[in-house]
Symmetry: C2
């Protein structure tokens, strides 16, 4: 499935949750499948923190395969023969939507660290603006994993009339203390890179690649399950010829070095900071006396919450918390725990059971 990205520039100003107003902003997005005549078959996919709008198919640009290609396509769980699927890059990102690498219209310079703090609420609001532009009035389904699942939940809360179903996978209604702690270590390693320049590295013609690499190496550990790591790498030594760094002894070290290096070439460090902060700050209960039940009261959509047994970033109990609150608020919801070999990343990989559950939910 070949895909084409489109970018829309929205000239209206956008007030963010932090209070800052963006005079204008751009969203890059992809679509898969065809919107039907009554515009009743639209699905919104929300990406996780290092994801982007290229969710499925083969990119027109570089032939890369979308991050959720196992989920979205002809005859797949989200069947593009039936559904029209939209995925946009979140603002604050670094894949084409307005973010720290964009030009600040106020002064003609790269935003860098001056790009404002963004939140899950802001992303949902910009996705709603895109929805209006596409003249869609109701999503059949909004879904995502991890930080994408947080957006799906926020959609159900903020725009109850514009969404029929929400799919919240490997997600949480709040990051845990440990999640925040890990994210802070990642941010610290970026901020303390000699090339960070308080976030204005691009103006200084450099990038904090070393810090971003370390951050990603840490992130990667939290995405994999311990069991999977044990099986795949164990305590096996790396053979000398294929070492990517001098001090590597074990295969797991080589793997993390390789993954971290690759990521640091492609991603933006300010975006890493903004996205992890958005994850840490997400908390629908906060303006509801700390009560998630209250936050969910206005939801009109059905919720499908999926947790994965081997996920230690957002373990199944985090999904269970959402379901318990939903039940108490009289919201129709299902909660399923799947095995998932890949830890937190399990939401990315299709299995027979995962397929059936999503199929029956979208067709319900």
């Amino acid at each position: 499935m070949k895909t084409i990205s489109k970018t829309i520039k929205f000239e209206d100003s956008l007030e963010l949750e932090c209070g800052t107003v963006l005079p204008s902003f751009e969203l890059i997005f992809e679509t898969y499948g065809e919107l039907n005549k009554d515009k009743s078959n639209a699905v919104l996919v929300c990406h996780a923190f290092s994801g982007n709008h290229h969710a499925a198919g083969e990119s027109d640009l570089d032939s890369s395969i979308g991050w959720w290609d196992q989920m979205i396509g002809p005859n797949k769980a989200i069947d593009t023969n039936k559904y029209f699927v939209v995925c946009s890059n979140n603002i604050g990102g670094c894949s084409g939507s307005s973010g720290p690498t964009s030009i600040n219209p106020a002064n003609g310079e790269i935003y860098g660290a001056d790009f404002p703090v963004v939140s899950v609420v802001d992303w949902v609001n910009t996705q709603k603006i895109l929805m209006d532009r596409l003249e869609i009035s109701k999503w059949e389904l909004v879904l995502g994993g991890s930080l994408g699942g947080m957006q799906a939940l926020q959609w159900a809360i903020t725009y109850p009339k514009n969404i029929k179903k929400a799919g919240i996978f490997a997600a949480a209604a709040q990051a845990s203390t440990q999640n925040i702690a890990m994210n802070e270590v990642a941010r610290e390693s970026i901020r303390k890179d000699e090339n960070f320049h308080n976030g204005h590295y691009l103006k200084n013609n450099t990038k904090p690649k070393k810090g971003l690499k370390t951050a990603r190496m840490l992130g990667h550990i939290t995405y994999l399950s311990e069991e999977h790591m044990d099986l795949r790498f164990g305590r096996r030594f790396q053979d000398a010829e294929s070492k990517v760094a001098r001090d590597v002894d074990f295969q797991i070290e080589n793997y993390l070095q390789y993954k971290g290096e690759k990521f640091s070439d492609a991603f933006d460090a300010n975006t890493y900071i903004l996205m992890t902060k958005a994850m840490d700050n997400f908390d629908p209960s906060m303006n509801n006396d700390g009560d998630l039940k209250k936050a969910l009261l206005k939801i009109q959509s059905k919720l499908l919450i999926i947790g994965f047994k081997t996920d230690w970033l957002f373990p199944p109990k985090k999904g269970k918390e959402i379901q318990l609150a939903a039940m108490k608020s009289g919201i129709e919801s299902s909660f399923v725990v799947l095995d998932g070999k890949h830890g937190h990343d399990s939401f990315l990989f299709m299995s027979e059971r995962y397929f059936k559950i999503i199929r029956s939910f979208i067709e319900s």
Copy 2:
């Protein structure tokens, strides 16, 4: 209990497990209590990776309290009215024994990154040399937590005739893949600090403090239990006046920033790398066809293995593995799982049950 440190310079050369020979080396150690006439009341305490020889009492030097003062002292679990307790700083350390901050006698310069790779086996060998100098022929007990527990286990393996009992707490017979992965991220953050200079930072009159700080922040997360972090910090925001860093939002971030900064003032980065590598490399089964049972066959001492429920660095199942191998090798051993609120660090904190178990073990 006032304590005094002594340093002994051993002029004999020492061949390390890595093959390198140290022409001479120094060990700094403390002792508590009195050695009895027949020298049958000696106890060796082994420190964990960022610990040192100051295990108990109030330091003569700076009035600081030893890291295991809850365990060792008059009428404490290791009762210094009865036992003579020895604790030395491991070689490769940075608290007075030979290590990367020492002068290399070969060239009169600071060792830095030229200090050789050290191992748990090397530490046990140097502790044996100290034992001989103190004219002790048998330890009543060798004990330690974490990397200290690994040393206690290695003592039982290497010198079966010189040890009656081994106390192995919050430890493992092998670091897991995830342990290695976390340690590699910590090392990466140190190595990529602009002031690291390939480990020769002291010669360059600088220190990789930023990298060491990030490494310690990460380490700290692994020492605490998730439950304890939730209870102690939750998602509470840090009040503005007591923020130790500009970008801090949550209390947990402030705590890690504070702890990391403090540690990076006091500890040596090369030692951090050496100690984590020693932990990763520890594996008594390696020269025994990967069979821990075989490695334990020669043990003559009794083993007390303690795991702590909230420890996710070396969870109780790691202690269980040691006991199962010991049982199969016909070694007398007990395995106890204690609650322990403090995650991996629980071995440092005394409780009524912990006290009773150690008392009855040492007096058995």
